[in-house]
Structures are given as structure tokens and as C-alpha cells.
Assembly symmetry: C2
Homo-oligomer: 375 residues x 2
């Protein structure tokens, strides 16, 4: 008997409609896949499963990058891997900063020893590509330019093409956070000149949190191979990860089999639907959600024309209390929506409509619940 | 349709009897727990689940350490967290090196900027405590002394008490790798003076791989809080992790809910059996396994008196081919056993008898299969 814990207690949390900034709801097929028996980390059957994941991730990222795999940790570790592998102490990194996760990028890069140059913009707006390109021109020694594609803290979808085009022609690595965007809207890694792109499993992919899909261009791998210092992280060392995921099959860590099974099934579901169909569904239903929210007095927060379909940020009407209302949604209606981060706390809500969650009946459930609460 | 992948394919790997160095077999209750609906990373129900995990981990580690949690990545990340949080560039770290994972410790510590002093011993033997204490005496500025409790590459169980006693009285942090030992044999973190102890989920706990339980003493947390430099890793920063797992509940990363459910259930199963009963089961059945293997000509590799009950290392008889025999065990009998690592490749086998796998019928199945193959 352990102090304070009744071992007879089963774990029976109330299921939620997950309309927050992630995780999103998980398809029952993904849960079922997690029941697949765990096998060894070098079992040929597991290696085949990993190969299939790589291949489907390539299709999802729209890339031919050989180094395309899932890091055995959450999206935050994907961010860390994207800097710790490519930054050497003293390197210059330019980051477009217009939200919580872009700020986190600067912190992660600084911990890796980077000299970080911030191109700041108001939260809720895009970082104008011309300002980024100007910063790159003014700092021709910059090694990395980093942007968040879908900023989870504000609901902004950052345009990437122009900056990618600029980096492609120079010795600059273009690092992109696709944590919220992957699987919910267009993301063309090769065409847009992205060198390193990481994401997570629990948002657009609708798989439980725990893995971080990542893809790395040959140009970025060359930079990695020509480092003067060792990558500080052993766990996130992409050369070692590539030797395990690639043909060599050198043991690096014990692959989280159950999570890999889940990711494989989540990816299968995505390709059964088709990327175009999936993106269209997110686009259409997010418009519907915005319209319904607008009628209840929740006005859009993110800059027009650059709104993420998977995450809608809205300004709270002055008569709506943030936390008590979200608590009622959770406790009485089993609906989770997200509050604001940082200085936006209490001011905005972030409503996710990602993957499995992106269904008309969930919009109806949320809007009806809000009408009852605010009546 | 994705190139080379038939989306109609279900994932149906042949189940295995996992008698390798890990993962071990998983109880069906743990799989069932993973079907529990994913909920948000700040959902009060998930936070309660995390509290229960912390409390059960404290009982398992036999510690009162407040900072006792599960890192959202595999055991290798636990190793990295144990060095990256406490090493500052130039610090001296003394590591007892008698196997593959102790070697990895030196690499991880060096990547963190440590000056590493190796106390080397032949693989398959313990590092004599007196040699470690002598090294500590000769290097009074050493900040950390690190040992692997259960060396997965050799089957050695390293004694910890004397070194712990020495470190306890001085400003030395005692870091212990309990990846293979936790849940299978006695491990007394507080009594033995261990400051940082990390493990994994997929061996003695019989939970799928993916998390790394860790416990950190107040003495170690003081060292962490008095660092002059920032912890290089954002993802593994224990101050940030403690703020999420502890009372403050500050968002750090999205907790891998399904894996936490699995860990909670695995821990429940352990405490239903009871620690003493569990350790006895491993002790008795590993003796039985050794006896049976001895009769087939597989002689023990690890030093007598210091053999891990959960992982038996044996020298291959000269007429037994390593890989073809293991392949037949896997393909014809569905039994996985581990080969040797490093210079022991082709020379020894490592046979796991951990948690759920530690059952008499599995020993019978392995021995009978070996008799057929070697007939």
C-alpha cells in the first residue's frame, strides 16, 4: 500500500471534447493500435513499422528528405533537436518573434550558445517576410533563420515561401516549427526551401502526445556533419538517430513501440482521407466556427488573411469571465478550450479544431454550451 | 496513396516472449490503460494521475524526494537529464566504467562539458567500491560520482552503499543509473545516499518504453538552483519539469497522457504484488534460469555474487552460433533474447527475466526451444 493512493482505483477520467490548443481527440483506431504487443527495438517487425512511418511522414511533410523520422519525445524536444544539432556556440540565429513558441525558440537557441537576433512583431500578427529578409541581409553571417508556421499562442499562420526562397540560395538553414500546422494545412517542406521542420503527434495528427516528427534536408545534414564541436545532446543527436532509423540500424535508445504504432495508424488515417480533403475540411469548418463565435460576440484576434484553420483565437467579450467560463465548459459540458498565454491570459481563447476534433458536431456542441452559459 | 505503403495493411506483428535486455512483456492491464481517453495537459484529472505516479515512484525508489517524476522520453533521456542539469562546463565527474551504459554515461557527461575521470574495470566485473573511493579522495573537487546499478550490457549488479555513504558526507552528488534494476531488485535511494536516480519504464516496470522515471534529492536540487550557467537543455530542465509536476503547474510541454496512464497501471500492478514479493520472484526464477542454462553448457559471464536477477549474461558454448540461433529462437519460437554489445558481440547472450516476463513458463519455453535447436 502506498501512502495516499488507493490501489483499487481504476483510472477513469471523464472523456473530453478536446478543443484546446492540443491534444486533439484521438480516433479509436489509434487507441486500438496501441494495444499491439510491444516488441524489441531491433525486431525486424518494428524496423519495418519505422520505415513505414518515415515514408508516410515524407508524404505529409511533402519532402524527399532521407532523414525524416519521429523523435522519441514531445514536440518541445523536436524544437530542441532543431537547434542543438545545428547551432555551435557563437552562431547567429535570426528568429521571427510574434508569440509564445517563437519566444521559446529564442530561449532554446540561446541555451545552445547561439547569438539570437529577434525580429519582433506584435502577438497576433505575422512577422512580415520583408523584415526577416532585411535582417538576413544585415546579418550575412547568420547560420539559421527560424519561424513558427502555426503559432499556437495566437492562431497566426506565418507565410514561409519568401523567406525560404531567400535561404535556399544562401548558406542559411531555414528552421520551421510546424507543431500546430502539420496535418491541418498546406506545408511544402521541399518546395518552400525548409531545411529543418519539426512537429508533434497530438494536434493535426490526432495521435496521443509523445513523439516529434522531424525532417532534415541534405543541406542541413551537411552542416551537422561539418560541426567542429559535438552535439551537446546525445539523446537528440540526429546523426545517431539517423543511424538507428536509417539502414545501419545502430542501437541508440529503446524505441517507444506503442507510440510508434499509434503514429503509424494516425498517419494511415490521414492518407485514407487524403491531404487535400483534410485541409479543405479544416478550412471549411474553421470558417463555420469563426462565424458562429462572431455571432456570440467573440471577435477574431489573429490578423485577417493569416488565420490558422486548426486554431481559432478570439477576443473574449467584456462580459465573459475567462476561467470560470472555461471551467464550466469543462465540468458541465466536457469541452476543453484553451486560454491565452503570457500577456494574453484572460483576454483571448484559443479554440482548437484539429484532426479528429474537426467535426461539425463539436462546433455545435461548443456553441450550444456557450449559449447556455452566457444566457 | 503513399509510395511503397499499402494503406490497407493493418499492423500485426507476431507477439514475442521478450527475454532480451528490454523491453519486457507488458501486462494486458497496461495496454488497456493506454486506451483511456487522452485529456489536456492541465486537465485536473491528468494532474491527479501525475501526482499518483509521483507518489508510487517515491515508494518504488524508496525515497522521500519531492522531485520524483517521469521524464517524457526514454531512459537514455533520463541519463542525459542526470548530467545536463548538474554538470557545468569544466566540472569533474567520476564514472565507474565496466560496461556499455557506463561508457555512455562518460560520453553524455563529456557532451555536457564535464572533465570525466574513468575508474575502469573489466566488463563483467563490479567496479570495486574502494577504487571509486580512492578516486574520489584523489579528486576532492569532483562534483559527481556516477555508477550504473544494473549494467544491461554485462548483467552485473554494482554495490552502491559504500560509495553512497562516502558521497553523503561530502559535496559530491551520487548519480545512479537504475534503468535495468528498478522494479526487479532492492534499490534504496535515500538509505544508500543516492542523489539522482533515473530509470525507464520498459524493463522491471513492464510498461511500454517511452518514459524515464527520475528522483532528485534536495541536495542535488540545491546544486541545480545554484548553477552559474543555464541548463543547456530546455526539455530536460528539472527546474521547469518540477514546476509542471509540482504544485505550480506551469506548462512546460504536453504530457504524454497515454504513456502516463500506462505507467500508473504498471506501478499499481507492482504494489499489488508488493516489492519484497516481486524481488523474491526475480531472485528465485533467475536462479532457476541459470541452473537450466548451465546444464545446456551456457556458463555465467557476470562475476559471482554480483549477478542481476533480471538480466542473466551467459557465455555462448563454442558450438553455438550467436545470430543464427537467436534468429531461430525469434522466428520459430517467438522468443527474443539479447546478444552481446561491443566486444562481447557473438560471445555472450543477455537473457532478460523482467517484470511480466519473469514467469516459470517462459523459462520452460526458452530452455525447451534451445534443446530442440541445439539437438
Amino acid at each position: 500500500m502506498v501512502k495516499g493512493i488507493n490501489l483499487a482505483d481504476h483510472l477513469d477520467p471523464t472523456p473530453r471534447i478536446l478543443m484546446g490548443p492540443g491534444p486533439s481527440n484521438v480516433n479509436y483506431r489509434v487507441y486500438r493500435a496501441m494495444m499491439t504487443p510491444v516488441i524489441g527495438y531491433l525486431d525486424p517487425q518494428l524496423l519495418k513499422c519505422m520505415d513505414e512511418i518515415s515514408e508516410m511522414l515524407r508524404a505529409l511533410f511533402q519532402t524527399k528528405n532521407r532523414v525524416t523520422l519521429a523523435i522519441s519525445a514531445t514536440g518541445s524536444a523536436g524544437m530542441e533537436a532543431s537547434f542543438v544539432n545545428f547551432v555551435e556556440p557563437g552562431d547567429t540565429v535570426i528568429v521571427g518573434v510574434n508569440g509564445f513558441f517563437a519566444q521559446r525558440m529564442t530561449e532554446v537557441a540561446e541555451r545552445c550558445g547561439a547569438k539570437v537576433i529577434r525580429v519582433e512583431e506584435e502577438w497576433g500578427k505575422i512577422v512580415p517576410p520583408e523584415r526577416l529578409i532585411k535582417a538576413l541581409q544585415e546579418n550575412p553571417n547568420a547560420k539559421i533563420c527560424a519561424l513558427v508556421h502555426g503559432e499556437t499562442s495566437t492562431g497566426i499562420k506565418q507565410p514561409l515561401e519568401e523567406v525560404g526562397e531567400y535561404c535556399k540560395k544562401r548558406d542559411i538553414l531555414f528552421v520551421v516549427d510546424a507543431v500546430t500546422s502539420l496535418g491541418g494545412c498546406e506545408l511544402k517542406v521541399d518546395e518552400w526551401g525548409i531545411d529543418v521542420c519539426y512537429s508533434c503527434t497530438q494536434k493535426g495528427l490526432s495521435v496521443p502526445p509523445g513523439l516529434s516528427p522531424i525532417t532534415v534536408s541534405p543541406k542541413a545534414m551537411d552542416v551537422l556533419y561539418s560541426r567542429k564541436t559535438k552535439v551537446q545532446s546525445f539523446y537528440l543527436d540526429l546523426i545517431k538517430l539517423e543511424k538507428y532509423w536509417g539502414e545501419e540500424r545502430v542501437y541508440h535508445h529503446t524505441a517507444p513501440a506503442s507510440m510508434l504504432y499509434a503514429l503509424r495508424e494516425g498517419l494511415r488515417i490521414i492518407f485514407e482521407e487524403g491531404l487535400e480533403e483534410r485541409f479543405k475540411r479544416h478550412e471549411i469548418l474553421s470558417k463555420r466556427l469563426r462565424m458562429e463565435l462572431d455571432q456570440l460576440g467573440f471577435k477574431p484576434f489573429a490578423q485577417e488573411g493569416y488565420r490558422l484553420p486548426m486554431l481559432t483565437s478570439v477576443i473574449l467579450p467584456s462580459d465573459v469571465e475567462d476561467f470560470p467560463t472555461r471551467r464550466r465548459l469543462l465540468n458541465e459540458y466536457r469541452i476543453e478550450v484553451g486560454g491565452g498565454l503570457g500577456h494574453l491570459k484572460g483576454k483571448i481563447w484559443r479554440i482548437g479544431l484539429m484532426g479528429e476534433t474537426c467535426q461539425i458536431q463539436n462546433i455545435h456542441a461548443l456553441i450550444a454550451a456557450l449559449k447556455e452559459i452566457l444566457a
